[in-house]
């Protein structure tokens, strides 16, 4: 990897699509995992049908595809621990945070205390977060 002179930018990956049906969700996650090696300030947002990507207990046997949702559990180990889920998108689909994967990370600033990575935010809050980003990938 080339030296970027220590530049740290705020990257947000906006996931808008269901986990299956199209490949966007899987290939978005592949970018996140590669991007984690670049030591940038990374966050993920899940909106619209994208919130289905984080639903726990997925079973893909019937459609012959790989269930890639367990990979989200590894994000904390890659220092990807700001995972924003839009409140309105959850509500519109009859979901709550209890339906989602219990994604955790260890906070090095607080003696490696285990914390939740998922933060449910309103549409207005997410708009503010988007406004703060340097780079927004929309998948």
């Amino acid at each position: 990897m080339s030296d970027e002179g220590g530049t740290i930018k705020k990257f947000m990956y906006v996931n808008r699509k269901a986990p299956y049906g199209t490949i966007y969700a899987l290939e978005s996650l592949e970018v996140v995992l590669i991007g984690a090696a670049f030591d940038q300030d990374v966050s993920l947002a899940f909106v619209d049908d994208g919130v289905f990507q984080l639903v726990k207990g997925q079973n893909t046997k019937g459609i012959g595809m790989k269930n890639f949702s367990p990979t989200f559990n590894a994000l904390g180990d890659y220092d990807v621990n700001k995972i924003y889920v839009e409140k309105e998108s959850l509500a519109a689909r009859g979901l709550s945070v209890d339906d989602l994967l219990p994604l955790k990370y260890e906070d090095e600033d607080e003696d490696w205390a285990e914390k939740d990575s998922i933060r449910v935010v309103s549409s207005a809050e997410l708009a503010e977060l988007l406004d703060q980003q340097d780079v927004v990938f929309s998948f």
Binding site: M1, S2, E4, T7, K9, F11, I23, Y24, E27, E30, V31, I34, G35, A37, F38, Q40, D134, V135, V136, F137, S138, F139
Partner: protein, 130 residues
């Protein structure tokens, strides 16, 4: 301003690739800098020289290739996305035992790190997709 471009859809099914191409042309004409276009998802299909659209239609593969050559733009096709979709250059074809290759002139195959690097180095990253 230095723009980075990400194209997430293939030619013809979606307008994304056309829009990206028009954007790049317009931005360059205004004096902006575009060093790299990254092709991801079905966007890798913009890089196959086997595309043969009807003669009275635009040939997006050739348009991209020509623009890249004229303005010295680095046109990168994601290797993982390309492998899934049957886009390969001579090296990739040899590595995977394929009987041919189809990457068009002006494109090269590389990894997703090039996309992250593009985000870091650009003033603005513009995503064209569905």
């Amino acid at each position: 301003m230095k723009f980075g471009i990400l194209v997430n859809e293939g030619p013809y099914t979606h307008q994304a690739s056309d829009s990206a191409y028009q954007f790049v042309k317009a931005a360059l004409a205004k004096g902006h800098t575009i060093d790299r276009v990254f092709f991801y998802h079905d966007g890798v299909n913009n890089g196959t020289r086997f595309a043969t659209p009807p003669q009275d239609d635009r040939n997006l593969v050739n348009l991209w290739g020509g623009l890249a050559k004229e303005h010295n733009i680095d046109m990168v096709v994601c290797v993982a996305a390309a492998q899934r979709r049957g886009i390969c250059d001579a090296d990739e074809a040899k590595r995977h035992g394929k009987d041919g290759n189809n990457l068009a002139d002006g494109f090269r195959i590389s990894g997703l790190g090039q996309l992250i690097e593009l985000g870091i180095q650009s003033d603005r990253l513009v995503v064209f997709g569905d």
